[in-house]
Structure formats: structure tokens, C-alpha cells
């Protein structure tokens, strides 16, 4: 360190005596510092002087001919904010002095107390204080730049519900500037979003002290447009009360959410599209035999009518007393042509099968309505048995050629809070997987059809749905991978590897349930869905 430091001082003082006194006192001071004093009498002179030369500190009298009170302080701070100021004044106005110090003046010394050592200390310390003040300002500016450049919305809230942080991104999203927002009450700040979730999160965060994540929370931006945030709430542990509170970091996921919605819609359309061909087949077949039967019934009725007409003619002649009616032969001929025996046997069957066929068509149409379930994302209590039956009917063409289906559905099953469309998707995916694996077995062995068994029952606080197939079973090597997205054992082009991953996501993440499986190679696999009977809080 340099042992002999030269400190340049500008003294602004209109009283020559006071100026002389300061000069003398400073000259007395020894030690490792030397002081070089420049003296001006007016503020205007000081401003001119400072334009041309630099000084380390300003000694300022508060009452100057061209500036009174804090005017001079403001003028100097405005133009030369980097230079520390020490007030040297006879003023006794303590409120003024306090205010000036608050406004950033480094020190104050009463003229009556001027003492060389004291003055020297005040000068040196104020230089140091100014240095650290500047360092602090720099660091603050840097923090602000950092906060401004974050693409997340960042809001700081004090323990007393006061907004203490509001970054540029927050300004952009909510259309309110930081200066409008800082210091206002957070809870009444007027931004529109899912307050219920936010408040719940804040309570949880302050109770547990650990960060809380809130997913897919809706908000309205400054233009009233709806979007979604993923939010992290973190507690701030400050040493002073003012810095305690919590930090809200919000990531805009509207675009991602939009993509997800489009994707899930596309998936839904895709699954309906894939099923459409099969459903058409399921409808076309009964339509064919119903209309064939109707055609037969029409022909039959014509024949019967002919028989009846002939009988009627016979009856009339007999009634008229004719014993040897010419219509007896006619009856014989008509009966021989009419194929009555066949009709007697077939008409009841044709009627029954036609009714069955019509019933089948209406069942399919009803099931399609159930299955497609125009997408409410809300969980509503639904009848799982009916959902399972409908899905099985809609997908019938996908499994009926390879498997028989056995259902063992508990009639006492209570309604379960569920997103019906999503649940149907899970059942569909598992059914189709089951049919595929059974097809692998029967096409290898040229064997008969396999079996798919679906059962439901209540297990304490849970409802359990089991879907068992008599397929190949899952080999040990892949058991821990089957729920991974894009994992598939099917040949290229046959499966996307998404079916089970989607099923898992729906059951576990969206319904707070579990999806597990029991499997034995060569015997088959049973998937077990467990759903909570009580609504659970799922983030």
C-alpha cells in the first residue's frame, strides 16, 4: 500500500474565518496522509471548479450566498454523485441535517466542534463509505439487470404482503410497471390469476419452508388474454424483517399447454379414427342381416297373404253351402308353392335376430357417445363399469377376431371421480395391447382365440380394475421399461410406444392412482389400475 496518500479536498465556504480554521486544523494533522485543500466561496464556483479538476471529497457549508440548506447538496449530488460530501456547518436544525444524511451525505461536523483529528477521520471515512456505497450500488444495478433479463416473471413479496420485487417480465405480462407495483399490497395488487391456488401454495410454503411448485395455473395477461404458468414459490429468509417473505417465480407455459391440448386432441381424433373402420364394420354387419331378414319377411308376408286370400275364397264357398269347392285344389297348389314350413320355422328366428341386430347397432351408437365423451377436463363421478363396457364395445372389432371377452364387473361399484375420456383411453390402450399380444400367441401356434378378462372391485379406499390377457407375457428384461415413453416391442410401424406411457400418465399423474402389472411368460399379463375413491389433491 502506498504509505503517503494525497487527499484532495474542495472546501466550499463563504466565511473566510471558517475557511482559514479548517485549513489550519487539517495542517495540524500528521500521519500517513497529506491533505491538499482547494477553497471556493460560492456553489457556482464549486461547480465550475469541479468541471475541471477532480477532488476526493467536498467539505460543504450549508449556508452559502448562492445556495441555502440542502440546495447545494442536491446540486452537487446531481452533477458529481461519485464525490463524498462532508457537511461543515453551524446550523442546528437537526431535522434538516437528518434529511441530508438520509439523502446520501457522508458525514456532518458542527463548526463549533472542528478539530483536526476529527475532521481528518470524517474525511477519510466518508471516502471509504462512498466507495462501499458505490460498490453496493453497482451490485444492486447488476442484480436488477439480472432480474430484468430473466424471462420468468419474478415477484417478491414481503412478510407483510408488500410487493418488493417486480421484474421486467412481470411488467410485460401484467402490463403494470415496477414503480406502480412496488410497495403495494400483493393480495390486492389486482393481477388476475388462480388466486386460490396461489394462496394455498403460499400457506403451504410458509408452513413447510420448502419450495412449492404449482402446475398449470391460469392467468390473464394485461390484455385480458388467458395463459398458463408453472410457478415456484420460495421462502426468503432475511436477517432483517423487511427482506423476509417469499419469491414467486412464474414460467409461462401457455404455448406448451396449447401444444399439449392439440396433441391430446390429435391423439383422441387418432384413436377415434383408428376405431372408425372397426366401428363401421360392427354396424355394417347387423345392418346387412337385418335388411336381409326384412326382405325375407316381406317375401314371406306376400306368400302368406296369397294363402290367406285363397283360404278366404274357400271359406266363402263353403259358407255358401258349396261342399265341393273348386278352391280346395287351389289351396293345395298355393300351399305347395308357399314354402310354409320354412316360414313357420324361420320367421320367428328372423324377427328375433333382426331385433338383436337393431339392438346391437343402438348399443354401438350409445357406446360411441360414451366413449368419445366431449372433453371435459373436469373430474366427475363416473360409472367405471359402464365406461369399460362402452370402450369394449367400441373397440370390439379390434379384439373379437383374436379373443373372447369375459367381464366380471362389481355391480356395487361406487361412482369414481374421473376424467371419463382419459379413463376410456386407458382402457382402450390396455385392450388393444392385450389383443395384440394374444394375436402374437395365436399366430405363432395357430391356436384358437385367447381370452381377455376385465374385472372391477372395491378395495378399501380404492377401486381396482384388472385387465388380464392370455398373451405372451412380458419378459423380465423389459419389465421396468414398459411405461417409458416411446418404448415398444412391436415391429416398426405397429406401435408408437406411447400407449402404456399415456395410460400411466393418466392414471398416476392425473388421477393419483396406480398402474401396475402382474405377468408370467407364456401365460399372459394382468394390468391393475387402482383409483382413489376420494378426490385427492393432485398437482
Amino acid at each position: 500500500m502506498n504509505s503517503h496518500l494525497d487527499i484532495k479536498i474542495l472546501l466550499i465556504e463563504d466565511n473566510p474565518n471558517d475557511a482559514e480554521l479548517a485549513k489550519v486544523k487539517l495542517a495540524e494533522v500528521g500521519g500517513s496522509f497529506s491533505y491538499e485543500l482547494f477553497h471556493v466561496e460560492l456553489l457556482s464556483e464549486a461547480l465550475v471548479f469541479l468541471q475541471e479538476s477532480s477532488v476526493d471529497v467536498i467539505l460543504l457549508d450549508l449556508s452559502l450566498p448562492d445556495a441555502q440548506g440542502d440546495e447545494s447538496v442536491h446540486a452537487l449530488q446531481k452533477n458529481f454523485s461519485q464525490i463524498p460530501i462532508v457537511i461543515l456547518s453551524g446550523s442546528k436544525e437537526s431535522s434538516l441535517i437528518l434529511r441530508i444524511v438520509q439523502e446520501g451525505v457522508q458525514d456532518y461536523i458542527g463548526k463549533n466542534r472542528v478539530d483536526g483529528e476529527l475532521l481528518a477521520h470524517a474525511i477519510r471515512y466518508s471516502i471509504e463509505r462512498k466507495k462501499s456505497e458505490r460498490a453496493l450500488l453497482n451490485s444492486k444495478a447488476e442484480t436488477e439487470r439480472l432480474l430484468a433479463s430473466i424471462s420468468y416473471v419474478l415477484i417478491g413479496v414481503s412478510e407483510h404482503d408488500e410487493v418488493i420485487q417486480w421484474n421486467l417480465t412481470a411488467e410485460k405480462f401484467f402490463g403494470r410497471t415496477a414503480s406502480e407495483m412496488l410497495g403495494t399490497s400483493f393480495c390486492q395488487c389486482g393481477i388476475q390469476w388462480d388466486w386460490q391456488k396461489v394462496v394455498q401454495g403460499i400457506l403451504q410454503c410458509s408452513e413447510e419452508g420448502t419450495p412449492v411448485h404449482l402446475h398449470e395455473l391460469w392467468y390473464l395477461n394485461g390484455n385480458g388474454k388467458k395463459g398458463f404458468f408453472d410457478i415456484t414459490l420460495t421462502r426468503m429468509h432475511g436477517h432483517v424483517e423487511e427482506s423476509r417473505g417469499f419469491l414467486i417465480l412464474a414460467n409461462d407455459i401457455s404455448e406448451r399447454k396449447q401444444l399439449e391440448i392439440e396433441l391430446s386432441l390429435a391423439k383422441k381424433m387418432e384413436s377415434i379414427g383408428q376405431l372408425a373402420a372397426g366401428i363401421a364394420h360392427e354396424i355394417n354387419t347387423p345392418t346387412q342381416f337385418v335388411s336381409d331378414n326384412l326382405r325375407f319377411l316381406q317375401d314371406s308376408f306376400c306368400a302368406i297373404q296369397t294363402v290367406l286370400t285363397t283360404y278366404d275364397q274357400l271359406f266363402q264357398t263353403v259358407e255358401a253351402g258349396q261342399t265341393n269347392s273348386p278352391f280346395v285344389d287351389a289351396i293345395k297348389r298355393t300351399l305347395a308353392e308357399a314354402d310354409l314350413e320354412f316360414m313357420k320355422e324361420e320367421i320367428p328366428k328372423a324377427l328375433k335376430q333382426s331385433l338383436d341386430g337393431a339392438n346391437r347397432v343402438s348399443n354401438i351408437v350409445r357406446a360411441m357417445k360414451d366413449f368419445s365423451h366431449p372433453g371435459t377436463e373436469e373430474k366427475k363421478p363416473i360409472d367405471l363399469n359402464r365406461a369399460i363396457e362402452s370402450t369394449a364395445i367400441v373397440a370390439r372389432n379390434e379384439w373379437k377376431y383374436v379373443a373372447d371377452m369375459v367381464t366380471d364387473l362389481d355391480p356395487a361399484l361406487p361412482l369414481v371421480p374421473c376424467q371419463a375420456g382419459e379413463f376410456n383411453q386407458v382402457i382402450l390402450n390396455l385392450l388393444i395391447n392385450g389383443a395384440h399380444t394374444i394375436n402374437d400367441v395365436i399366430s405363432q401356434t395357430e391356436g384358437d382365440k385367447g381370452k381377455i378378462t376385465i374385472s372391477t372391485r372395491v378395495e378399501g379406499e380404492w377401486v381396482e380394475v384388472r385387465i388380464a390377457d392370455t398373451g405372451t407375457g412380458i419378459s423380465e428384461a423389459v419389465r421396468d421399461k414398459i411405461f417409458d415413453p416411446f418404448f415398444t416391442t412391436k415391429e416398426v410401424g405397429k406401435g408408437t410406444g406411447q400407449g402404456l406411457a399415456i395410460a400411466h400418465d393418466i392414471i398416476v399423474n392425473k388421477h393419483g392412482g396406480t398402474l401396475t402389472f402382474e405377468t408370467e411368460l407364456g401365460k399372459g399379463t394382468t394390468f391393475v389400475i387402482r383409483l382413489p375413491l376420494q378426490r385427492t389433491h393432485v398437482c
Binding site: 373402420a277 363401421a280 355394417n284 354387419t285 336381409d292 331378414n293 325375407f296 314354402d339
Partner: protein, 394 residues
Amino acid sequence: MKRRILFVDDEANLLEGLKRMLRPLRHEWEMEFVGNGAAALECLDRSNWDVVVSDVRMPSMNGVELLNKIKNQHPHTVRLLLSGQADTEVIMDAIGPAHQYLSKPCDAELLKTTISRACALGDLLQDEKIKQLVSQIETIPSLPSLYLELEEELQSCDSSLGRAAAIMSKDVGMTAKILKLVNSAFLGIQQTVTDPVQAVRYLGLDTIKTLVLTIKVFQQLDQSGSVGFDMQHFWHHSLSTGEQARKIAKEERAPQPVVEAALAGGLLHDVGMLLLLTYFPQRYQETLKLLANGECSLMEAEQETFGATHAEVGAYLLGLWGIPIPIIEALAFHHCPAKSLVQTLTPLIAVHIANGLIEEKDLQPLEGNSPCLDLAFLIELGLDDRLQNWRELL
């Protein structure tokens, strides 16, 4: 003798419905109804069947597999599919082995006439051997230059349906196949389509691409067997007969469907020649030898070597394929229109006249020295005085 029809479907109710609906035909048809492919094959092994009508999706053996087996083991049996399947992939598979494809729900009358027509076609060919061989044919070869041109068009990044249609409508084999597809229940088109360009438009570029590039429904002509046969002249003759027949029908103000069928009938009228030449090249050489001796007509020479003429062979196969009847009629009777009992200007008459006038003009009749036109018949129809007009259209 009763026709014998075998129905195959895994849905018992459907078979029973058919049985009842077809009951009035019991005096003409002997019918059997079985629930799966294996049972159908057993029936076919035991006795002779004229027509098989099968469902497509069935457990263990599906309809396409069944028809492929029948095609190889019992080629004389006409193979029809009756399916509720809307899945194009399955239908594409069925294009080869099935003579015709009907979709459920199928109108009772359509089912009856389709089966009756298929049965009646058998009468066109007396020779059982030829009948069997012809009914196994899945494709009619195309002119290699047109085939390559089409392939190139469809593979180019800016392929156009219009250009593809223009190429296909110049080829005998492609036109026949396209008409088969478009008139099957495959596309669910209600009316019959006889205009090849319109048929291509109905199918659309994607389907055409799949058919040509992936499934390869068309096949290039192998010219090694056609020694002594002027293929260039054949193609030219087919195209100009089609064009001429169209002009004649138009000149006579025939309705649009007749004009279109006249064009297709003219293009396809000698398709049987192409079939005999491709699938029986050695025997066709004998035919050509007989013809070269100059002692008989082409028809007589074919009759001598095959027991059938190209007119009958072409009409039989395209009839099996469900090509509209006016076109089949034009194929079958283009040399002897009087046999058809027609009274007005049908596609057959237009094709007969076009064929006759072109041969007359060429002075080197492709089909021997037979009298080109049946003048007596034209006089009977009161059309003889129009001949000079039509000549001027050439």
C-alpha cells in the same frame, strides 16, 4: 343345372339372413353357408362350386387368404368378397385375388345380380381349362413405354393426377384395372364409371401412387412371346378404335354414358388377344401360323387352337372383374353384334362400326379377312345410311 354358390362368414346371423333372403332362388341356386375358411375349403374339395362369396375379416383365416387359396386350388370358382370393412389396407390386399368386391350392407338385388352375372359369364367360355387359367389372371400387361412413363410421373415431386390419367387411359391393361377398381364397392361410388380419366380422378393421386408404386397392380408387357405380332399396331388399333367409337356415339347424339362406354369398349375390345398372347405365348404362335396360311380368320384360328376367341376370353375376365355390362357386351360381340339382340346404338354397335371402318381403311385387317362389318345387321337397325358420315369422321 343349378348354380352352386358358397357363402362364408363368421357371423352366424348374417349367414342365416342371407339364407332366408335368397330362399326364393332355391330352384336356380344350390347354396351352402359356412362359418370359416377351413370349412369353405373342405366344401370346395368335396364338390364343384361356381361362386364363393366370402367375408374379409374372420378369425384364423381371413377372406383374402381364403380367396388366394381358392384361386390356386379351385381356379374355376368365381371369387367375390362381401365385407363391412372400411379399411383401405385390407381392400388393397383383396384387389388381386377377388374378382369383385361388394360392401356390407349390400342391397339384395345387387348381390343377386352380381352372382347371376358371374355365373352367366361362365357360359361365354366352353373350354374348362381356358376358363380356369383365365380366372386366375390378376393383371393385364401394360405397354412398357407407358408403364415407365407413368412410374416416372408418379415418382416426380410434382406429379399430377391429370397427367397420370392421360397416361393410363392410353393403356389397355391399366384402363381395365382402373375400371375394375372404381366399379367395385371399394370406393363406395354409387353409379357405374366407364370413362377411364374419370375413374382415375375418383381414385385420386394417393391411391394411384399406392397401387402403382407399392402394390404394383400394373405389370409391364414381356414382348419376348409376341414374335410375329405387331404390338405397336395392336396398341394403335385399340386406341383409334376407342377414339372412333366415341366419335360415332357422339355423332349419333347418344347419351353421355354410352359415349364413355364406347370409348372404353373400343380401347379394350381386343384385350383378350393381349391375354392369350401373354399367358399362352406358345399356343398363340400356332394361332398366328394358322392365320398366316390364309385359310381362316383370326377368330377361327383362335377357336381352333384355344377353343375360344379373344372376344370371349376378354369379355370373360373383365366380366369377372365387374366391369360395366355395356363394355363387356362390346368386348364379347364386337365381331358378331347380331348375337347381342341390341336394337339401338349401344357401345357395342359403336365399337363394331369403329373397328370395321378402321380395318377397312388400314387395308391390312388385323383380324384376318373376315368381313369387317355386319352390314345386314346395320341395315336391320337402319344405320347403314350413316356409314359414309362415320367414314368421314376417321
